[in-house]
């Protein structure tokens, strides 16, 4: 009996010690988990604040520097006679990374131009013109619409609206109705809206013909006659030149804004060489030097690159009738 009681009390003591040990281990685990959670929150929280600070430093909603439409359809935004580096921005309205660039650094460009610290040269291109519909047609239609908006000195505002409303790649978007509505959002006169709408309808028809009839037929012929390998190395303007000599007359593009952006894209590929060669969008050049992503895709990087560059010269001529200053 006595020994039985002692055995039980020993058991109880053992049990209690086990419990205490388990509780202590639980506490230690909880402490370690708390410490780990704090580390994660600290790294993610501080990092997020630091990265967001860069994004928020870019906000600008002051007045824009004067814009001038150029002969090749591009637009220069700068203070009159500004002695400042030239920042060229190549973007395709259907390109998601261009949208990110615009959302992040669109205001940095505006502010630098307004303060006379940069000459901003917007050079819209359509690197997607040869892709499948609707990627190609979205890209071209938006490019032509931006050019039509530039006729009424509304390029910069319209450029913003296009990127804000960029359709998901591969989905039908930038419809003519949407494009007209967005132009209406820039406060045009009735006559300007009418001109814009008319022009856009013409361009939309050209884009449809180009992407759905002309280019597929031309590509098929070129594939047979010069082979996929050579074709892959040709830019669109070269292909059109080949088509002109082989029964695919591209003259319906002449005088259209659709044709103009295709030509501007072809010229972008030959304008620079070596490390600065134009390979895709977005491409940002300062005085002809291609910026890397760390400079182009952060507000601080772009500001620093602009601040450290010498004054430069724009390589295009403004249209003589002052079409941008209507």
């Amino acid at each position: 009996m006595g020994s039985e009681a002692r055995r039980r009390s020993r058991e109880r003591l053992k049990e209690q010690r086990r419990k205490e040990k388990r509780a202590a281990k639980r506490n230690r685990t909880l402490m370690v988990l708390t410490a780990a959670a704090l580390v994660v929150v600290a790294i993610v929280g501080i990092g997020y604040l630091a990265l967001s600070a860069d994004r928020k430093s870019a906000a600008y909603d002051g007045a824009l520097a004067p814009r001038a439409l150029q002969e090749d359809g591009s637009v220069v935004m700068a203070q009159p006679d500004a002695q400042a580096p030239v920042v060229e921005v190549y973007a395709d309205y259907q390109c998601p990374a261009c949208r990110q660039f615009e959302l992040l650094n669109g205001d940095v460009l505006k502010e630098n131009a307004a303060d006379g610290r940069a000459i901003v040269h917007y050079r819209p291109v359509s690197i997607f013109a040869q892709q499948q519909v609707p990627v190609s047609s979205n890209s071209l239609r938006a490019g032509a619409a931006a050019r039509a908006a530039a006729d009424h000195d509304r390029f910069v505002e319209y450029n913003d609206l296009l990127f804000e409303n960029q359709p998901t790649e591969g989905k039908e978007g930038f419809t003519t109705d949407e494009l007209k509505d967005w132009f209406a959002d820039t406060d045009p006169t009735e006559a300007q809206q009418e001109q814009f709408d008319q022009r856009l309808d013409q361009e939309a028809a050209v884009v449809t013909r180009f992407t759905e009839e002309y280019l597929p037929a031309l590509t098929e012929d070129a594939m047979e006659q010069i082979g996929q390998e050579t074709l892959g190395t040709m830019v669109l303007t070269d292909l059109l030149a080949w088509g002109a000599d082989h029964g695919h007359d591209p003259s319906f593009l002449e005088g259209t804004y659709t044709g103009q952006i295709i030509e501007a894209t072809g010229n972008a590929y030959t304008r620079y060489s070596g490390d600065n060669a134009f390979r895709g969008t977005p491409s940002v050049y300062i005085n002809g030097e291609l910026l890397d992503n760390n400079s182009a895709m952060t507000a601080r990087g772009l500001n620093e690159a602009i601040a450290s560059a010498e004054p430069g010269e724009v390589d295009t001529e403004p249209v003589s009738d002052g079409g941008g200053a209507e």
């Binding site: 281990k25 230690r28 685990t29 402490m31 370690v32 988990l33 410490a35 780990a36 580390v39 994660v40 790294i43 993610v44 990092g47 997020y48 990265l51 967001s52 994004r55 998601p96 990374a97 949208r99 990110q100 660039f101 959302l103 992040l104 998901t168 790649e169 591969g170 992503n293 760390n294 895709m297 952060t298 990087g301």
Partner: protein
């Protein structure tokens, strides 16, 4: 430093060999997985491009994609720090493995929906030509990383951990 826990069953020769090897294997996995996570986080900079990589999956509204684009690389970095320091090792390994499983699910959904995108695992991301996708490679890679995380979660005991200093195990 690798004295077996007193609750362990009596050892066989094979078990003691595993006991000798396992801590070093876990350490190797911790360092390897941390290196992978750091590379992945750093290559996603700047965040504007990381956002674009997330958007290419077409799974989230723009605000959510933006938040993921900014915080995912930081989270990867934080996990790497925990793995290297050996703090809450078991849980850091488990969460890393789960993260890889989430990545695999994301890539699989891109395949299922016929998207042609770069996974954006180590920077890059966005649309690519239909013939240039590397989904198989990305998924295989992520399975290997998930396995490393799982090994750490199951056998967290290893040299050079804060867990040991804090008395989480001997």
């Amino acid at each position: 430093m690798d004295t077996p826990d007193d609750t362990l069953a009596p050892e066989t020769g094979r078990a003691s060999r595993w006991d000798a090897v396992q801590p070093w294997l876990t350490l190797a996995c911790r360092v390897g997985l941390a290196a992978v996570l750091i590379t992945a986080a750093v290559s996603k900079y700047p965040p504007a491009l990381s956002v674009q990589a997330v958007e290419a999956y077409d799974l989230f509204p723009p605000e959510v994609a933006q938040l993921i684009g900014y915080t995912l690389p930081l989270f990867e970095l934080a996990l790497a720090v925990l793995l290297l320091a050996g703090l809450a090792t078991r849980y850091a390994g488990a969460v890393s493995a789960l993260l890889m499983v989430a990545f695999i699910a994301g890539i699989a959904s891109a395949v299922a929906r016929g998207l042609s995108i770069d996974c954006g695992c180590f920077g890059g991301g966005g649309q690519v030509e239909p013939g240039e996708t590397t989904y198989g490679l990305s998924i295989t890679r992520d399975i290997a990383f998930a396995a490393m995380g799982a090994l750490i979660a199951v056998w967290p005991r290893s040299p050079l951990t804060l867990d040991r200093a804090l008395g989480l195990f001997r």
